[in-house]
């Protein structure tokens, strides 16, 4: 956390909407730029971190940063309209000013992943925080091994980042695979769960770091499957979500057993959340 305008971490910074790109129906990427040049210069983040985004008169919600950390001038957020605040946010127009606080939380273990293969598993909107992983690794291609991206959606329409995925697939040593729970005409990916994609991958794809983001049952199923296949638990990372009011570890809403997801996460080694994940109500 670096760029807060003053000592008040509750107070948002003004950020201008530079672009609002519709990725899929109800899913938009907002490209924001901090209006104050000093704040802009001070802003640095790592993949996996999130911001608290604020829409005037409506409210504030946590949203992952989906752009490349190498470019901190434009900060991308991919938002799915699911409720009050997010529905308002996907409608903002270039030139509008929003509030931004951040970055918050832990990032992906990019340092540990150096020199190794990376398996990225995402479900639904989960690809937002993991997108920055892929971009980060691609931008530093020599430092990482093979990159495999498995993306699961409920229905083909939910597939976002069409163009980005295409670019990723074209990149050297990168595979992208898709699974949709519902079939649809023209769907070329698998019909089924994202866990099933593990069978389609080249065996070495899972022999590196695994980074996951998406619905908890999905992440748990994949993680347990990887453990069954003999992968060490230290190599599996997940990104978690809970309601957050402050992002600072004060509001208590993201309480998760011994952790606060906002500051101890959102990216956790699977080991750390494995005990509570199957328990309903945490």
């Amino acid at each position: 956390m670096s760029a807060l305008p003053n000592t008040n971490p509750y107070l948002p910074m003004a950020a201008e909407v530079m672009d609002n790109i519709e990725e899929a129906p109800g899913i938009n990427t907002l490209r924001l730029r901090l209006t104050d040049p000093a704040q802009r210069a001070a802003y640095v983040f790592v993949p996996g971190q999130f911001n608290m985004l604020y829409l005037a008169r409506v409210g504030e919600v946590p949203i992952s940063i989906s752009s490349d950390p190498g470019d901190s001038e434009f900060i991308d957020h991919t938002i799915r309209a699911v409720g009050r605040v997010t529905e308002g946010m996907v409608r903002v127009k270039p030139g509008d000013v929003m509030g931004l606080r951040g970055p918050f939380g832990t990032g992906w273990p990019m340092a540990q992943a150096k020199g190794r293969n990376i398996l990225v598993i995402t479900g639904g909107i989960g690809c937002a925080p993991t997108a920055s992983v892929v971009q980060y690794a691609h931008a530093r291609r020599g430092q990482y091994g093979k990159i495999s991206v498995c993306h699961g959606v409920r229905k083909p329409d939910d597939l976002i980042y069409g163009e980005r995925f295409e670019n990723w697939c074209k990149a050297p040593d990168t595979v992208c695979m898709f699974a949709s729970q519902e079939a649809a005409p023209g769907w070329t990916g698998r019909t089924g769960l994202v866990t099933q994609l593990l069978d389609d991958l080249p065996p070495e794809a899972i022999e590196g770091m695994t980074m996951m983001c998406g619905p908890e049952p999905m992440m748990r199923a994949v993680a347990e499957e990887l453990l069954r296949r003999g992968r060490p638990i230290e190599d599996i990372y997940v990104s978690m979500e809970r309601s957050m009011q402050c992002g600072l570890g004060h509001c208590g809403h993201c309480q998760y057993g011994p952790d606060f997801i906002c500051k101890d996460g959102p990216v956790f080694p699977y080991q750390r959340v494995r005990r509570l994940m199957p328990v309903k109500g945490f």
């Binding site: 008169r57 409506v58 409720g83 009050r84 529905e87 308002g88 409608r91």
Partner: protein, 276 residues
């Protein structure tokens, strides 16, 4: 963007919900600058496109208690983009739903010389039993702060989120002394939806649930607590059958109690009470 056109309609009610608009003072004038109050017969003689004109938002107060009102709400629904039900009547049938357990004919004959001309349905029901409503705002009357929040949300084009928790949170935030714990008054706050501003405890009396059940309500435990406070069974049923008698949780619980199906062990149980 063209100004949103709103309508306010009255059904069986006391008028109190509409008054929540008319007592906004300066803010009513501010509101009139931001949207068009097209149909609101208590406020204006200009009646827009009539009761069944096309409006962006129709606020409906009151309950549905006559055959004619069933027709009216259907037509309003057809002609409105959004329908927002306000008040205890609009969201749960209101206090007049107390008649829903009685025999309408006996009600009529005991009061009217010409009962055959009384055009009433046997029940007083909320709008949601007749049409799809887009948002509901509970309370008898609804809170002005919440009403303003809903209007502001609609103007911003986003969904309102009304908290579903108990009155007790607000009661404590305001520093009131709990009338149940300190005075053994049968306060309904623990099972009542927040919104009023914990008015009753502030007035040093028990809440009688004019905002209806909280989503978190454990009505059984509340009843056992009231038994612990010495409330007789009919008193218990009256607590539930008051302003929100027809809300499904209160209705079901009152029926269970009347049928003697509820667990009657008083709370706090002797097990947890240490002698002083």
């Amino acid at each position: 963007m063209a100004m949103a056109r709103i309508a306010v309609h009255k059904f069986s009610s006391c008028d109190g919900c509409q008054l929540q608009f008319l007592t906004l003072e300066d803010e009513l004038l501010q509101l009139a600058d931001r949207l068009e109050i097209a149909y609101f017969i208590e406020a204006t003689s200009e009646t827009g496109d009539g009761p069944y004109g096309k409006y962006d938002v129709s606020f409906v107060e009151g309950s549905v208690s006559t055959p004619d009102e069933v027709e009216r709400i259907r037509k309003i629904r057809e002609n409105s983009t959004l329908v927002v039900a306000i008040g205890a009547c609009g969201t749960a049938g209101g206090i007049q739903a107390l008649r829903n357990w009685g025999d309408l004919d006996s009600y009529k004959t005991s009061f009217y010389t010409m009962p055959e001309h009384i055009d009433a349905l046997p029940t007083s029901t909320p709008f949601s039993e007749h049409i799809h409503v887009d948002a509901e705002l509970a309370g008898c009357p609804p809170d002005q702060g919440q009403l303003k929040y809903v209007i502001n949300s609609l103007l911003a084009g986003v969904q309102p989120r009304i908290p579903s928790e108990s009155v007790c949170l607000k009661c404590k935030r305001d520093g009131n002394v709990c009338v149940l714990v300190a005075q053994e008054k049968p306060c309904m706050g623990p099972i009542t939806r927040t919104g009023c501003g914990a008015l009753c405890p502030h007035q040093e009396r028990d809440c009688y649930s004019c905002f209806g059940p909280a989503e978190t309500a454990n009505i059984e435990a509340m009843g056992r607590r009231f038994i612990g406070a010495g409330l007789p069974r009919d008193g218990l049923v009256h607590r539930l059958r008051f302003i929100y008698s027809w809300s499904p949780p209160f209705k079901a619980a009152s029926e269970r109690w009347l049928a003697g199906q509820a667990d009657y062990a008083p709370l706090p149980t002797s097990r947890t009470v240490t002698p002083p």
